[in-house]
Amino acid sequence: MTTATVSRWDRFRESFLWYSFKRDKIAIVSFVVFVAIVLAGVFAPLFAPADPYDLAQINIMNSELPPVWMAGGDAQFPLGTDAQGRDLLSTILYGTRVSLLIGFGAVLMQGALGILFGLLAGYLGGRVDAVLMRIADVQLSFSTLMVAIIVGAVFKASFGNLMFGEIAIYMLIVIIGIAEWPQIARTVRASVLAEKKKEYVDAAKVMGFGTNRIMFRHILPNTLSPIFVISTVQIANAIISEAALSFLGLGMPETQPSLGSLIKSGFDYIQSGSWWITLIPGLVLVVLVLVINLLGDWLRDMMNPRLYKG
Amino acid sequence: MALLEVNNLDVRFAVRGGDLQALQSISFSLDKGERLGLVGESGAGKSVAAFSILKLIAQPGYIAGGEVLFEGRNLSAMSERELRQIRGNRIAMIFQDPMMTLNPVLTVGTQMVEALKAHRRISTRAARDIALKKLQKVSIPSPDKRLDQYPHELSGGMRQRVIIAIALLLDPDIIIADEPTTALDVTIQAEIMALLLALCEQDNVALMLITHDLGLVSQVTQRMLVMYSGRIIEQGPTKEIINDAQHPYTQGLINALPQMGEPGRRLYQIPGSMPSLSRIPPGCPFHPRCPFVTDECRQTMPEYVQSGNVDVACYEVSKLIEQENRAPEVTP
């Protein structure tokens, strides 16, 4: 067991991916920052000085305190407090956790939908392909954000504000998953069409394997690397979509804020000079999305040699 | 003085992990009205040589040494502005694929007029008249209609006629034609070639014909160069080389021509294949495929020796020449 993992590790260390990663400063920095943010989000309860969900810890007297380096700052609240007197650093850590959870969850969701529909469209072809791709076209021409807003509005209207707020995380994962599956489905379909022509598929058919087995066991593994590349960028897109929905009031409630709803609630106080409540979570959001996009760009260049012309 | 003289031209491609030598110490010359053939397999550096003359090699290629003298002026040391006055004006080019050469979104007329206006101060109307005359010269049916058509509305043969007309537009001294007929239908290849040759002859234009078609070169050129892995390995009068090739590679090429063999005989094939730029072996680049290979061949590139009017770079040939020179002294 150990030997297998060691040899796999060795193989990874000798791979082109690792080699080019070591030489790309932007990729390294992005990766380090990304891992740091993910760890900070995952272990938010350990790092955060206060629990923003715990109403007992909040004192309204502390509201709108500026960050510690400004006049009037309090060492107890390094990044200041928000309008309800919650410690901003803690809310940001917890908000990052929510944003990341929705980002990854939505990509898993759209990955499942996209892979299933993409495989079906590509492998079965004909009418199934036409219908699925037509839906994908219409959705994409509407833009994923628009679809997410519409689906979000419909969900919110049918579940009611209160219930929507309680299960908002799952709702958002589903909404963004539904809105963004066409991207992945198209990629999968294109790879399937290319793979389908190859001889090993014919061989599998001749050997009498069923459609499901050929699709999932034979074709799917060969389409994984483009899916992987596009998923990376899709995490960034999902995080932005979540932030946009929350900003519009169609996402996370203020009691359980994500980065987007923090920005939204802070925006109401920007005119009174409390810029930190909205701009500091905004900065965290931008850095998070930026490093994911940079990693995605790097991965795409690595996996697609055609683009790599210098 | 020759019209065009290329001396020790070195061209390299800057790639990750060092430079690749695309052309090594290329030297040749072209006289006024002369027809020169440049033969070799694809990848031998023929096109690179053609583009380097007008300094048109694409990134990451660059000229690392040597000079290109046109009427005694060094083209490789000229500024872009000075070079532009030569390009298309004194030295015109014909590219391989007429489908890719003409800009798909501009009319034939626009692409002809702009070439004239780039070099002469004339009105659009006057330029159109010249363009029309040249189109008539290349015997395009209803030439006035063609001026307002887009390239995709013309057939492949017609497009290459347009390109020949553009090449002749400014009455150049030299036309460099890079495989001008390869992309065309076999049926019209001969027609286009005959047209190009006739027009060059008529206006006394020197033609540098780049091709892998040894048969064509033997029919239409006066002198020829044989290239292998970025080097000229043999050059001289076409007739002499075709009748009595010196370099083993050239011999192989000629033996591989179908019409040279007797009917029913299997075509000759040179064993192996030309190495890619990144894998050129030391010494003579042909040595791994050569039947006369010696240790010397594996270590250093042979110098040129003269055999008749032919320059050839081969140790075997120089040995033979030495033996011939010594022979009369031995016999009493």
């Binding site: 219409v138 021409s141 509407f142 833009s143 954000l145 628009m146 807003i149 519409i150 509005a153 419909v154 209207a157 049918s158 960034a236 932005i240 932030a243 946009a244 900003f247 519009l248 009031g249 169609l250 920005i263 925006f267 920007i270 005119q271 810029w275 909205t278 701009l279 905004g282 959001l285 931008v286 999305v289 930026l290 996009n293 760009d297 | 583009f51 007008l54 048109l56 694409a58 872009e80 532009r84 006055q85 390009r87 298309g88 015109a92 080019m93 590219f95 694929d97 890719m100 050469t101 003409l102 800009n103 798909p104 979104v105 501009l106 702009e114 070439a115 780039a118 887009y150 995709h152 553009i166």
Partner: protein, 349 residues
């Protein structure tokens, strides 16, 4: 040409059909017009009678056909909140959104082409790398955040006192990094000029233009990096092609090669993608209008969602869907007209 037109239009009709079906399902599933029309006091028998009269007991298909028939005649229902036909409400708000989109498109057009072309021609210049870096960062900034930062900088203003203010250079540097603010960040201002119908324009007064500035920049900021990247990538590919090298071999001047030979070929794919992106911009108007309280259809839509104004939501979807379909069809047709290699026979050559 005719075949191409027929094909595109029938495709557009099909998409409109799907959109109307979805919209109607939303209305059917969510809206209970009875709740809005009559209060709680009406008896169940009474309700049933009204239901029957309104045709609410008919099958889904019959109800959809009635809905579609009315929609074709321009009747999309009455807004609960405004108490007016929804189309009227939408047309009152549409000019504001259109002006925002026009303003943003002008900014995108004037900036993306020169920057994209420059970055393609001189990929190694530090300025190109700077622009590409900025556009990578730009893609990662959500549009509402750009808007908030713009408001902080140019509407509220920032006073910097990082440097000692008592020294001359200190106060100069403080002034350099401080911004004055004062740009309007709310609504369209009072300087609107009535053009025709419901169209009141902000383009013809300095106050109207000042109000448009920050929202238009915000909306442009999300698309600008995409267009710069797209133009650069297409242009770099075109510059590799044989006909560009041939143009050089003809001795043409670089500006003619870059701005005629290369740019014309670059813009063809950019037009197609650009048309689609223009439609996508409508989604971002919702965010931009929310931040700036810009009284356009985006803000109207969001308010309709919070007010559960179902007929207005549905009408918005139908109108926006129609705008998407029309722009996409027009873009296809324009592409066919501009690109000589596409013969308008319904197939791309």
């Amino acid at each position: 040409m005719l075949a191409f037109l027929v094909q595109r239009i029938s495709q557009a009709l099909l998409v409109m059909f799907v959109i109307s079906l979805i919209s109607f399902s939303i209305q059917d599933g969510l809206g209970d017009p009875l709740q809005q029309m009559v209060g709680q006091s009406v008896s169940e028998a009474e309700r049933e009678k009204i239901r029957e009269e309104l045709g609410l007991n008919d099958s889904f298909v019959v109800q959809y056909l009635r809905f579609a028939g009315q929609a074709v005649q321009g009747d999309l229902g009455t807004s609960y909140f405004y108490g007016k036909p929804t189309l009227e409400v939408i047309f009152e708000h549409l000019p504001a959104t259109l002006e925002l989109v026009i303003g943003a498109s002008l900014i995108i057009g004037f900036l993306s082409v020169p920057i994209g072309v420059y970055a393609a021609i001189r990929p190694r210049a530090w300025l190109s790398k700077f622009f590409m870096g900025i556009s990578t960062v730009g893609i990662s900034i959500p549009v509402f955040l750009t808007a908030i930062v713009l408001i902080q900088l140019f509407s509220i203003g920032v006073t910097v006192n990082w440097f000692p203010p008592e020294t001359g250079w200190g106060s100069w540097l403080n002034g350099l990094f401080s911004t004055e603010g004062g740009m309007p960040s709310y609504g369209r201002g009072d300087g609107l000029v009535h053009l025709f119908g419901t169209w009141h324009s902000g383009f013809f007064s300095s106050d109207g233009l000042r109000h448009l500035t920050l929202p238009a920049i915000s909306l442009a900021s999300i698309m600008l990096p995409l267009f710069i990247r797209l133009i650069r990538a297409e242009m770099m590919e075109v510059l590799q092609s044989d006909y560009i090298r041939y143009a050089q071999a003809k001795g043409l001047a670089p500006h003619r090669i870059h701005f005629l030979h290369a740019l014309k070929n670059t813009m063809l794919p950019v037009i197609t993608v650009g048309g689609v992106q223009l439609g996508i911009m409508v989604a971002y108007t919702i965010l931009t209008e929310t931040v700036f309280q810009w009284p356009g259809v985006g803000l109207m839509f969001l308010e309709a969602i919070t007010r559960s104004d179902i007929p207005l939501i549905v009408s918005y979807l139908m109108v926006v869907g129609l705008i998407f379909v029309v722009t996409n069809t027009v873009v296809d047709l324009v592409y066919g007209l501009v690109n000589p290699t596409v013969k308008l026979t319904g197939k791309k050559a």
